[in-house]
Chain length 128, copies 2
């Protein structure tokens, strides 16, 4: 149960972008602003959503273990459980894990990595 919907992903992106915990209202505003801000293929982002919509999504993300909230403060504050990088790396391991022949997969994977990334990998593998 790792895949996210479009809105769920948009919310996670916001939580990952800002380093602080945010309230549902804050996220609602940010989602609305994203319209003119970025010309990027933001998809459905930019809509003026109801706060309850954001809260529902946050609850679902919490159930999925991607988000946690401070229940103490009154406007609950939400934050990502792990960084975007950690989460992505975890996802990659999940994908790889389901393969019987992990090394063969890694071979294909490495085959299509940019040179600078290959360099990064060499360094990382050096001191392990």
């Amino acid at each position: 149960m790792a895949s996210l919907g479009e809105l769920e992903r948009a919310v996670m992106d916001l939580l990952w972008a800002g380093q602080e915990a945010a309230t549902a209202n804050r996220l609602r505003d940010l989602l609305a602003q994203s319209t003119q801000a970025q010309g990027g293929s933001a998809g459905h982002v930019g809509k003026d959503l109801a706060v309850t919509t954001v809260l529902t999504v946050l609850s679902r993300l919490e159930k999925k273990g991607l988000v946690e909230r401070e229940r103490g403060t009154r406007p609950h504050r939400y934050q990502a459980v792990s960084s975007r990088e950690d989460h992505t790396a975890e996802l990659m391991h999940e994908v790889l894990g389901s393969a019987p022949d992990r090394e063969a997969v890694l071979a294909r994977f490495i085959g299509s990595v940019t040179e600078s990334e290959a360099e990064t990998l060499r360094k990382l593998l050096g001191h392990i």
Copy 2:
């Protein structure tokens, strides 16, 4: 649109396992046999499915670009478009691709790879 359902995955596993193209009927039989054959957590596999069910799944997999069929022969023969390893590696790139900070993700990823895999990666990175 990369994720597969349980039955879809079971079918792909069979197509990836056998090197030859298979008919819907053949796949139906294989899915049925999987019951007692493997004690593994095969999930719902092992059920006696209708052939039309298998055909529907194959059509969907074809639409997703994971399977292709020979329409010439009468019992159409289906086969995976790419190997399981290629497909998995592609999936990994998809996951990685959506990250702004690719190198940071790779760092986390490498951090939790087995030693033998690390060795494999070193070799692979050596001659690029």
